[in-house]
Symmetry: C2
Subunit: 526 residues, 2 copies
């Protein structure tokens, strides 16, 4: 998940703390699986106009040689760990020459991509915090010694810069290790032997992406944000069911969200876990509803009736809150000051897709209500009928063959995709809508992998698997060609240098909402 | 102690490890006394051409207000801890606003003097390592929280720069504390009530200087070098006897030096203690001899006969090695490639003062040999006589009334002072020599507090207490006026901006060899 530059800051709000839920979540906290990764090569990062961001890492020496090399003031080198890593750095540092008569000043720069090795972090001037740029200036007073950096990093490359030693000594590095952490056990993932090597590779990279985001919660990105977001959680959970099957982690995250609603009962868009559980003061219309969907997916995967019973009131509450936003016509009120995420697009009007998300959610809530024999069932069925009718009446433009959104009748990809997923039309019309969408290519397109996921899923839903695979390859396959070891937060195949943050340096190159191809490939047998 | 820019680097040397001595030293390791210091004021550092280095710290707000203030990206403030501190920084950091959605990037700069707050460390371009400049860039991933920085700092001022937070939160700081450490127990220091308030104040600052340098060894400077040097130890021990009386710390340091001589038996000029005891590859003619003098001072203070017996062979060895450097005339061979410290002065010829140090040392060794009934006694007496005679014959220039040094017959302050201390002349001639020195002011003068100490002591020795006090006030009293909370490594009252390192930023402003006024005042009843 990424935040808009227009950010929500709520000064006064009341957070409820539902202690049994919080305790349940705590009891499900996973024990992280640890492993050790070592650098594979020395690399040089060189300008290359054909490479992603204009930079390419070229292996120039094997790392067997590290121990025989030593470095003095001003020297630097870059290590390549071969693929993306999330973990803690350790190394031995050995002085060469006289006993070290001054501290070692070492600068370390961690990068998921070559651009982070090549362009100085000082050049970053974007609107999100520069504190996400992964670098450390460390002073080592006692040598030789083993250095264990306390922070967790997300990287493939590390640049070592020996800022200063003294005239009397140089330094050598031994046993450089990344102690990786994850709550996704790779041994549990069934191998995929797809006849299409590209899909095979996309599957692998998707799994690695999810694995690196699986920590003591499902994080959105291990480099940046590092938080549990509802929209990302929903997708991660789906991929998890096809791979690591750490279903308790999904359960934990559901209880975490349910543990700290606001005074209206709304779940937050994301949570902070440390030092103590705190909901962010960001609330998003669609994300809150995705709590229901995530519970629905979880129930039908795990058949955990007890959890469904406990969390149903929270889920139902999200629908009630959403229904409050409907106007007399049963259409969501649009305004400049409401928050629904849908996709990262400045011009995207959120009314239409949000209306679809509401329908999509109520349909799933009805299934849950049936299982629970809930007295809300008939109410939900009635409201669904009203809302679907209103949607047809007010948002469906038969002449154009598209659903519209907002006072200016915006026709966007996002609205069509969510309307298809919500199955407002019948199967045949749904199929035609997707055809029309791909043919006419409305201007207000998709930007995030999050929304691309729903595009592919909508194509699958309308029985256009081939088109789905084509879209999947055109997006994630292109990322692969551009050097993805894990899939990225943001990617526009037509504008590869784009960053909404004002710099590629701050983008996250391992981002949960980009890991769904594995789910799409495996769940739908693509 | 400071090193010459011409540094010793010995590639191949053999270090002996005398384990019983090392174990004895280990058993004497002090338990550090801990205390908590808190900031007293906010200060601004402003340009002031009358102030030391051109910078003055002006108090602008009391620190009671810290907790009510908060800071965002780009904000900074400077705290004044009231006086010099050596210890570990801790603080609580509290987010203000939304939950912190990005790490805090905080830059901390520690300074003993206002100049370190005012001039950017990046401007430093001297020849000793920039790694001594005390700064940290820390990234705090979890807030609120207590931050405990692992490194020890030496400072009065700390500059806080909030490099970045995020658009959603600011930070406040509570309970900022320096957890100070020393092995000097202030409660044991007898109060001095001198009728002269300047001497009273000089005494206080001297004691603080020594205290802040007393750690698990006598360090030379807690900010820079942080090492046990023999020349500094000798002076620190003298001051210690008049103040903290941590005599076991002196004993420990003697055993440390004796524990790791080279294959000739020579003790190193300084030692590294962590991670394990290692002698530096710097050996200095005068410093090695000061091992004898330090043992002599220790014995006559503590009457620890056992230690004298154990360390006498090491002490005697230093004299034997020094005697090897005499030529046929019994004058020390001079050359461009020998190492004797004496004073920090590029043009100072070391032959004359080193010859005097040798005489000074042999006289003390004779006293120790007498106590031990050593069979070396007659040999030492004979050699002393020969050397004194040779010194008269070859280095004393009756026509000039000065001792000379080197092939160019250099007349320096250092040679005269050490010849006086060595009592080569009789008491009356000694007095006349000091008069002549002060009157004629030879060009090759003094530079370090280390050498100033010996100047004052030489004046006391020739019964010129008033002149001694005048010199003491002109040097250390002037440092006081220039704002010393602890006495400095380097000070030239006539050229206050001087630094042999190319920058005042890297100077040490709490330096052991500058702490001797307390000894001079108290021991000699000035």
């Amino acid at each position: 998940m990424i935040e808009n530059v227009k950010i929500q800051k709520i000064e006064n709000r009341t957070v409820k703390r539902i202690e049994p839920f919080i305790m349940q979540a705590e009891s499900l906290k996973p024990k992280l699986i640890k492993d050790v990764a070592t650098p594979q090569h020395f690399v040089e990062v060189v300008a290359d106009s054909d490479a992603m961001h204009g930079w390419k890492a070229i292996s120039n020496r094997s790392v067997v040689e590290t121990t025989s090399l030593n470095y003095g003031k001003g020297d630097q080198f870059i290590l390549d760990f071969g693929t993306h890593q999330v973990g803690y750095l350790q190394m031995d540092i050995r002085p060469i020459g006289s006993p070290p008569d001054a501290p070692l000043h070492l600068k370390l720069t961690f990068g998921e991509m070559p651009v982070e090795m090549a362009e100085p972090f000082k050049s970053y001037d974007g609107w999100i915090s520069s504190s996400w740029l992964q670098e450390e200036n460390i002073y080592v007073d006692v040598l030789p010694g083993r250095i264990e950096l306390p922070r967790r990093y997300s990287f493939r490359y590390i640049k070592f810069e020996v800022v200063d030693t003294s005239l009397k000594y140089r330094v050598a590095f031994d046993n450089i290790e990344c102690h990786t952490v994850t709550s996704g056990n790779k041994a549990l993932v069934k191998p995929l032997s797809h006849s299409d090597p590209i899909l095979n590779q996309i599957d692998k990279v998707s799994i690695k992406t999810l694995q690196d985001c699986m920590q003591d919660v499902f994080e959105d990105g291990p480099k940046r944000d590092r938080r549990l977001w509802l929209g990302d959680l929903r997708l991660q959970a789906l991929v998890n069911y096809e791979t690591f099957e750490n279903n308790d982690l999904v359960k934990r995250c559901l209880y975490l969200f349910a543990g700290v609603p606001n005074n209206k009962g709304e779940v937050a868009a994301n949570l902070f876990i440390r030092p103590s559980l705190v909901p962010d003061d960001t609330y998003l219309f669609d994300y809150s509803l995705l709590f229901v969907t995530t519970l629905y997916d979880y129930y039908f995967k795990v058949k955990d009736h007890e959890t469904l019973v406990e969390l149903w009131p929270t889920a139902y509450q999200q629908i009630e809150i959403a229904l409050d936003r409907l106007d007399d016509r049963n259409i969501l009120k649009d305004s400049d000051d409401w928050w629904s995420f849908i996709d990262w697009h400045e011009k995207l009007n959120k009314q239409g897709p949000s209306q679809a998300v509401l329908i999509y959610t109520i349909k799933r809530a009805i299934k849950l209500a049936e299982i629970l024999n809930s007295d809300k069932l008939s109410f939900l069925e009635k409201r669904l009928q009203d809302i679907v009718e209103a949607t047809f009446q007010h948002l469906w433009k038969k002449d154009k063959g598209f659903f519209v959104s907002g006072s200016e009748n915006q026709i966007s990809w996002a609205t069509q995709i969510w309307m298809v997923l919500a199955e407002v039309l019948d199967q045949k019309e749904n199929n035609q809508l997707m055809h029309r969408l791909l043919l006419e290519q409305p201007v207000i397109g998709l930007t995030t992998p999050y929304m691309y996921h729903y595009l592919v899923e909508a194509l699958i839903l309308v029985d256009e698997k081939e088109k789905a695979v084509n879209q999947l390859k055109a997006y994630w396959g292109e990322m692969l060609k551009d050097g993805a070891d894990t899939f990225w937060e943001l990617y526009d195949p037509n504008n590869k240098d784009y960053s909404p943050y004002g710099s590629q340096l701050i983008n996250s190159y391992c981002h949960a909402w980009s890991c769904t191809p594995t789910y799409l490939i495996r769940h739908y047998n693509l």
